[in-house]
């Protein structure tokens, strides 16, 4: 945890505990501070509450104890700042790609010309301009995920919450989307919370990796990832990258056995 004196952190969890209705403890006493511009990835065995953590930060699910602050505000009040990208693309099948990307602005009754322009920009950004009028079922898995990312970026979020966004994709597509995500991240400098099962994806993307243990979910280890920027396909071939992956895998194995 870095201590930035004076500035308000983008995300601050203090002593957060989450219990389900059946009293099972999903997360216990989590304290975590994420500064602006950090890319923090959560790794851990299933049942460690990684996805639940994102739900708490987004305000979709209330905490049982402790506090969550987004840029000093409650999650409910900070919703303008936050975009959530779900595990599957969660596009509305009856809307075209462009209509899906514009959904948020439409629900906010934004003016049509402004909406069209913004949607076109975002489609351009993720390389989907040529399929704007297609329906989701006509797209590949990778394209659907790009559309989902474009939709999340429309509102100019400051914070991105990504819950295993590329888990369903093949490895080649996943690697390419990882690289594109970092290119966008370099431009926009969001604060990102990212959940994945893939150690190499976590190391490649993050400035910091948080390894969680299960039953109850808690922070077991934290790793600063000091790989140089910009990170490209070559980064994955570097010795430093491999060492970090090996180290993280070892920590993760320890958590699994515990």
């Amino acid at each position: 945890m870095k201590a930035h004196s004076g500035s308000i952190p983008d995300i601050a969890l203090s002593s957060v505990t989450k219990r389900y209705r059946n009293a099972a403890v999903a997360l216990e006493d989590i304290s975590l501070t994420v500064e602006r511009g950090e890319f923090v990835t959560f790794l851990g065995p299933s049942g460690c509450g990684k996805s639940t953590l994102l739900k708490l930060v987004s305000g979709l699910s209330p905490v049982s104890e402790g506090t969550v602050r987004i840029n000093g505000m409650t999650p409910a009040n900070a919703r303008q700042l936050v975009s959530f990208i779900f595990q599957d693309a969660t596009l509305l099948p009856w809307r075209t790609v462009a209509q899906n990307v514009g959904l948020g602005m439409e629900l906010e009754h934004a003016a049509r010309p402004a909406r069209k322009e913004r949607v076109a920009q975002m489609l351009q950004l993720v390389g989907l301009s040529h399929v704007a009028t297609r329906y989701p079922r006509q797209l590949s898995g990778g394209m659907k995920m790009r559309a989902s990312i474009a939709r999340a970026l429309v509102s100019r979020p400051r914070i991105l919450l990504m819950d295993e966004p590329f888990a369903a994709l093949d490895e080649m597509t996943r690697d390419r989307l990882n690289e594109e995500l970092l290119r966008l991240y370099a431009e926009h400098k969001w604060t990102v919370l990212f959940v994945t099962h893939s150690v190499s994806e976590a190391i490649f993307l993050s400035t910091r990796v948080v390894i969680l243990a299960a039953h109850p979910g808690r922070v077991a280890h934290e790793m600063q990832i000091d790989l140089p920027w910009p990170r490209t396909a070559q980064t994955r071939e570097s010795k430093a990258f491999e060492e970090q992956v090996t180290h993280a895998s070892r920590l993760l194995r320890g958590v699994h056995q515990a």
């Binding site: 509305l92 009856w94 809307r95 959904l103 629900l107």
Partner: protein
């Protein structure tokens, strides 16, 4: 394209053989027309009684279509209420099953007793038997929305009305059409069943059900066959109109939207 042409020819040949067989059975056994009329006698009855047959057909169409349309409006409204308030659904949903299991022949006389004989009460009978499939299917479609899509709308701070009209209703469209398809088929049966009891206020001006009773009493078996033929055509037409509307509404985006119509 060529294969479709061969299929069409085959269908016509099969149909011609069946009609020929029918005529042969009648002719070779010298059956009286009131026992079993041949296709020629039926065609003659169809031709001679055409004006009154069309009249009956229109009356039944009006009743079936009216009842079906009313059941779609009321059914979707009820389903929307059920989807919005879970406790209300749990309280009232069992009654829709009741609606489905109650024998229509038992309540048709009651409705005619209350609403009087005529087109209106037959439309009510049709409405009642069409209602349950619409409510059941639409409710199912409205409540089975992907949880993450609901979360997405929550993140956008969507109003309850936006969740209903932009998410739940489009999501329910495929199941609504399943319900309408079922109800379209039974709406014609409902109309005819209703007419069996309601009859007609004026002689010779009833719907198909009334005409069937009348022809049966008069031993006009050839005309009876013509009426059955007309009722079948009516049921088919309803079904295909609904199929077509379903295709129009869903073919762009829905997986199950009838690939055979998509070329």
């Amino acid at each position: 394209m060529k294969r479709q042409g061969i299929m069409a020819v085959n269908s016509i040949v099969v149909f011609a053989c069946l009609v020929g067989l029918w005529q042969a059975v009648v002719s070779l056994n010298h059956l009286q027309p009131y026992i079993l009329p041949g296709p020629l006698a039926v065609a003659r009855a169809l031709h001679d009684g055409f004006p009154s047959l069309v009249n009956s057909l229109l009356i039944t169409t009006e009743e079936a279509a009216g009842g079906l349309a009313a059941s779609i409006i009321a059914g979707v409204a009820a389903a929307m209420v059920f989807a919005q308030w879970r406790w209300l659904r749990q309280l009232l949903y069992p009654y829709t099953i009741l609606l489905q299991t109650v024998p229509i022949v038992a309540i048709a006389p009651l409705i005619i007793n209350w609403a009087g004989a005529g087109i209106f009460s037959v439309t009510i009978v049709t409405f009642i038997i069409c209602l349950a499939p619409i409510i059941a299917n639409t409710t199912q479609g409205l409540i089975s929305v992907d949880e993450n899509l609901l979360h997405l709308f929550l993140m956008y701070k969507a109003s309850p009305a936006q969740v209903l009209f932009r998410l739940r209703l489009p999501n329910a469209l495929p199941s609504l059409f399943t319900g309408i398809r079922i109800s379209a088929g039974i709406s014609v049966i409902g109309g005819i069943t209703g007419e069996l009891f309601a009859g007609s206020t004026r002689v010779g001006e009833g719907g198909l059900g009334y005409a069937i009773i009348y022809a049966s009493n008069q031993m006009e078996t050839s005309y009876l066959f013509a009426l059955v033929f007309a009722a079948t055509v009516l049921g088919f037409s309803f079904f295909f109109i609904v199929m077509f509307l379903e295709w129009l509404a869903l073919h762009n985006w829905h997986e199950s939207s009838m690939p055979q119509l998509e070329e």
